[in-house]
Symmetry: C2
Subunit: 509 residues, 2 copies
């Protein structure tokens, strides 16, 4: 399928009227066809206006029809076949295997939400019958259901060109909730976005849904996203990206006449705590698997393990030796964009230059477009006194914090900001120590895991991909797993409604 550079609005493909841009192949730095023209203010307004008009119809679509629509999107994505994979490979530098896996995850996610929609539990139907004889006052008939918030602006993420982009988790959960979606494509993979966007647009038409149910907008800069979040018809925002980008959207949203929720997944260094007996018994294996997790996908995962916390001793030294040896053998990898590669190198250079940090290992060097893994060490005292050491370096860079003793380690843990994940590596003899720390850890992260690493996020009913600020803007939510649908709903209560006026899902009860 040929990639179009057009905006997708209202079932049509329109050439954007603002500045245009092209995708770059990050592996070789070359520009790709076609050019994508950004949306003008009028085109953004056109998209939000028809999304608003589509909303009352789309949100009352029968559940079966909505589920079939989500499944149709999944089928259409699969039907794009290798065109999609090849374009995504060129635009992101990610290997085929990873992208095929991500496509499976994206399709699986859509089907999982289709199942949630069919089951309908998300509607939270509650029925509280009248009691006219109650004293001192009669009890009214009360019924409750969740309704969709309204049109949602979704920002494609650079690091998941399929699973967290045009038809990714935010879009799937918002559509499942009954919200029209307007996607602002990430400028790093516009062609991939265009292909997936056409798959969604075709599903909208084939399902007989209002054309405003979905739109895809491009932008060479930030204006389209800002306009979307400020538009009064947009009622929630899904975003995965940098802390700077996320907080900028949070500020726009909170300054609106009617503030709206922003679900921004922003930054996390995903601390890994190595307990003494785990190090005593298993340092080498943990070191190797840490190196694998750190370098997976060039370290470009939100759940990349960027921080190791452990107590000084021969076990920690053995871990460091094993991790360093593995990292030194790790090949350089192409990062998603040249800008990210540059930011990664700057972050690594900053740590290298820091007097309180020592460099332990560097991965193999590659082409000018590729990044080498890097491992650093610092003392607990430096970590505690230099908050900038907690800043995420997006990519395969890890920092080890060497603590003096358990009390010192606790203090380091206590200084952590909110995280997506915290991993504990424990031996049977560490369990009582770990248990003591658990209530502290639960307050710091959305997901805790034992003897593993956070990379590889299961899409399931018990997953939380979220966490306290600054990991996300709203630690009460998750952007992965079935609970994600609740981000786009609010409860409404109906009192003493005659049956014929009740919304259909509340009538039949």
């Amino acid at each position: 399928m040929k990639v179009s550079g057009d905006l997708l609005i209202g079932g049509a493909a329109l050439r954007g009227g603002a500045a245009s841009f092209s995708a770059t192949n990050p592996a070789i730095g070359s520009t790709m066809e076609p050019s994508f023209a950004g949306a003008t203010k009028n085109q953004v307004e056109q998209a939000t206006a028809i999304a608003w008009d589509a909303f009352p119809i789309y949100r009352e679509t029968p559940l079966e029809k909505r589920a079939l629509f989500l499944e149709a999107i999944a089928e259409n994505i699969l039907e794009l076949g290798d065109d999609l994979i090849l374009r995504a490979m060129d635009e992101t530098g990610l290997p085929r295997g990873r992208l095929e896996g991500e496509r499976a995850r994206t399709v699986g996610q859509l089907c999982l939400f289709a199942k949630e929609v069919r089951e309908g539990a998300f509607q939270e139907l509650r029925l509280d019958p009248a009691d006219p004889d109650r004293k001192p006052a009669p009890k009214p008939d009360l019924r409750l259901r969740n309704v969709a918030l309204g049109p949602v602006a979704v920002f494609g993420a650079s690091n998941f060109p399929l699973a967290f982009s045009v038809a990714g988790g935010d879009t799937a959960s918002a559509l499942a909730a009954g919200c029209p979606v307007i996607v602002k494509a990430h400028s790093a993979h516009p062609g991939t976005s265009a292909l997936v966007g056409s798959a969604v647009q075709q599903a909208v038409a084939a399902s007989g849904l209002p054309a405003g149910t979905f739109a895809l907008l491009f932008d060479a800069g930030f204006e389209v996203g800002q306009m979307l979040v400020a538009d009064h018809r947009i009622r929630a925002v899904g975003f995965t990206g940098s802390r700077r980008g996320g907080t900028a959207l949070m500020n726009i949203a909170s300054e609106r006449k009617q503030p709206i929720p922003v679900y921004a997944e922003m930054s996390s260094i995903n601390p890994v705590i190595l307990f003494p007996n785990a190090l005593r018994n298993n340092a080498e294996a943990i070191g190797k698997s840490f190196a694998s997790s750190l370098t997976l996908g060039a370290g470009q995962f939100c759940t990349n393990p960027g921080l190791i916390i452990a107590i000084d001793g021969p076990g920690l030294d053995a871990f460091i030796n094993a991790a360093s040896a593995a990292l030194q053998e790790s090949p350089a990898q192409t990062m998603l964009t040249g800008g990210m590669c540059e930011a990664y190198r700057k972050g690594v250079a900053r740590l290298s230059a820091s007097l309180s940090v020592s460099q332990l290992a560097t991965g193999k060097q590659g082409t000018p477009q590729q990044a080498a893994a890097a491992l650093f060490e610092t003392s607990s005292a430096s970590f505690l006194s230099e908050p900038e050491l907690q800043e995420e370096i997006f990519g395969a860079a890890g920092l080890i914090v060497r603590c003096r003793d358990e009390a010192d380690l606790r203090q380091v843990v206590n200084s952590l900001e909110g995280q997506l994940t915290i991993a504990l590596h424990v031996h049977q003899d560490d369990l009582s120590n770990a248990a003591e720390m658990l209530s502290q850890l639960e307050l710091l992260a959305g997901r805790l895991l034992v003897n593993g690493f956070g990379t590889g996020v299961e899409v399931s009913p018990a997953m939380v991909h979220g966490g306290p600020y600054p990991a996300t803007s709203d630690g009460r939510s998750t952007s992965v797993g079935t609970l994600a649908i609740y981000r786009f709903l609010r409860p409404v209560s109906y009192q003493d409604f005659p049956p014929e006026l009740l919304p259909a899902p509340l009538q039949s009860r």
Copy 2:
């Protein structure tokens, strides 16, 4: 029981170190004993520090113990007996019957949350078992539960000295969720607050809970509340009051290093839409019951029906005649505070002076401390062009918007800000018209009701006392009913945990 003017912190009664104030009997304007001294910065920090220390213990209290604690609070409040009612009558000007009813509601609310705690559904326990044989990658064991957010700051509301104050809905739901609570007492009923506070404090001690589970602070001004919301150990806020107060707290919360959720219930004019056939058939009865609802409790309810929207015609005139006649006979009532009475008079005077508003009726005049009901009328054109006509006048003031036709009425409805409730008065022949408007109304309010008024908020599983901004700060939540507990929870996922490390509620599954 003698009323103490002391702060309640850590199981002790302490004299506040800041400026002191006294309650005023609003019916006669006289000052009451004792004096209440505000908390200093150090005292606020003392309260938040011990709340933080109590949190890990309190949140893991077995559910049965937590439920018994809530029931013990309820029992202790009842044991205060008439001392509580008499003090509240003196401090608020509210009549005995209303306060006895409110006490029953407060106690019932605590017992309802005790039941929710026992049932435990709020924990949202989810179990997603491992599948080591899954291809391409094994599936981890994932378990999920909701955990409490942390210590919560609750602001007592002026208009519900029992049900939305020290042991009211916010406190009950936060304690039920597992959050320690620090209450900033409303300065209009400090004695009532002190009595209820002692009931809670005694229940904490008798239940063997950490003393930091509850604290009660006084303040002559706003500093204590501001300090609480800014304190890093406070993790959520419950507030019922003015839009100015609520948005001030929202701003403090969003500017923290770690922003926190603020659940502020602020302002609502609770529109009532009178449909043509209802007016044709039933104008007089609706007019009379509107007047009753408008003047109930001197109009000092969040759900007071401040706005009537209807189409011009003889039915509307008949409604106005009936409502005006009833209001002219309504006695003046003492308002909660002299300040509120003054603000009410100013609001009424502002409408009276407006060239686009005509005054229809005034209630009987009373003492200088009492307020008379007032009814006004304006045209749809004026209402649409003057947004200040949507501003809440707290008290028994109503505004009727006369619309030209159905399209005009729709436009007026479309211009409304977010509301707690919208009421529809319909006859059988209006149902199809009403049904067409329903999807618009669902987006504007948390509760819709038919042929009634919003006053009288049922405490039940299907209640939503919330609504889009500015009715509340977070339209995804309710402050009344069992769903209120979810405001103070967030999900945490546990991956591949050995059984002995799992939190108790997830072990047994």
